[in-house]
Symmetry: C2
Subunit: 136 residues, 2 copies
């Protein structure tokens, strides 16, 4: 069989010894699970930008989200260890949300996904099927 | 309100002027849509590693996937412009799959997601709620 690896000339940039495609895929799947959910990305990007936000500030920043839904999404992000909740014992109660180190550490990956989306936005994807007219 | 941005000391690394959290979130969502689907990540990681693969090779590499499902996932990746299909007009027909430049360009983002998953795997996520005992 005529392998075209050389022609493609592509090497995966990551260098995890012993990481098979299966292990890599399940690792990435795990990361993506944390981001799943209608409002999680927008919550994370607000916290990336602003550092710390109160519930009411997040609610104002994200039009269309209900308070119930916002709390649900925050709870889920807290369970996954990417968002922390700081309770100030004052009257009226003051609760602030921010990213944990684990959450802040998501930034390079989200940046790369954003770069990718920006780079290829609106560019034609090219013909999905190419017929090789040269006999091989 | 006591903003703690300075304490957190975190700045988003990306520097897209004019990119709001909303725009960033929808850009990343677009990228994630391409990766959604039970087998897409594993197909991509095999193509990252091997460059070009025939359908039968992908089928052998991914136990548990049916040929129908594999073809469906490949068609979807082709529609999104990340995988290309090269047909050699020979008997028996020979069809090879590889990544398009757009597909290869996903590698840094997938690598970052994988790094993240590896770095934080098994580490306790810490208390989701912290009570600030200092009056403010």
């Amino acid at each position: 069989m005529g392998r075209t690896d050389e022609k493609v000339g592509y090497q995966q940039k990551s260098s995890y010894p012993g990481i098979t495609p299966d292990i890599a895929a399940s690792g990435v799947e795990e990361a993506l699970k944390v981001l799943e959910g209608r409002w999680k990305l927008i919550i994370l990007f607000y916290l990336f930008r602003d550092g710390t936000l109160r519930l009411s500030e997040l609610e104002r920043a994200i039009p269309g989200i209900t308070q119930k839904m916002l709390i649900q999404q925050l709870r889920s992000l807290e369970r996954d260890g990417v968002v922390s909740r700081l309770v100030h014992p004052v009257v009226p109660p003051k609760v602030e949300y921010s990213l944990t180190p684990r959450g802040q550490d998501l930034c390079p990956a989200l940046d790369e996904l954003l770069y990718w989306a920006q780079r290829w936005k609106g560019q034609p994807s090219g013909p999905p099927t190419v017929v090789n007219t040269q006999k091989d």
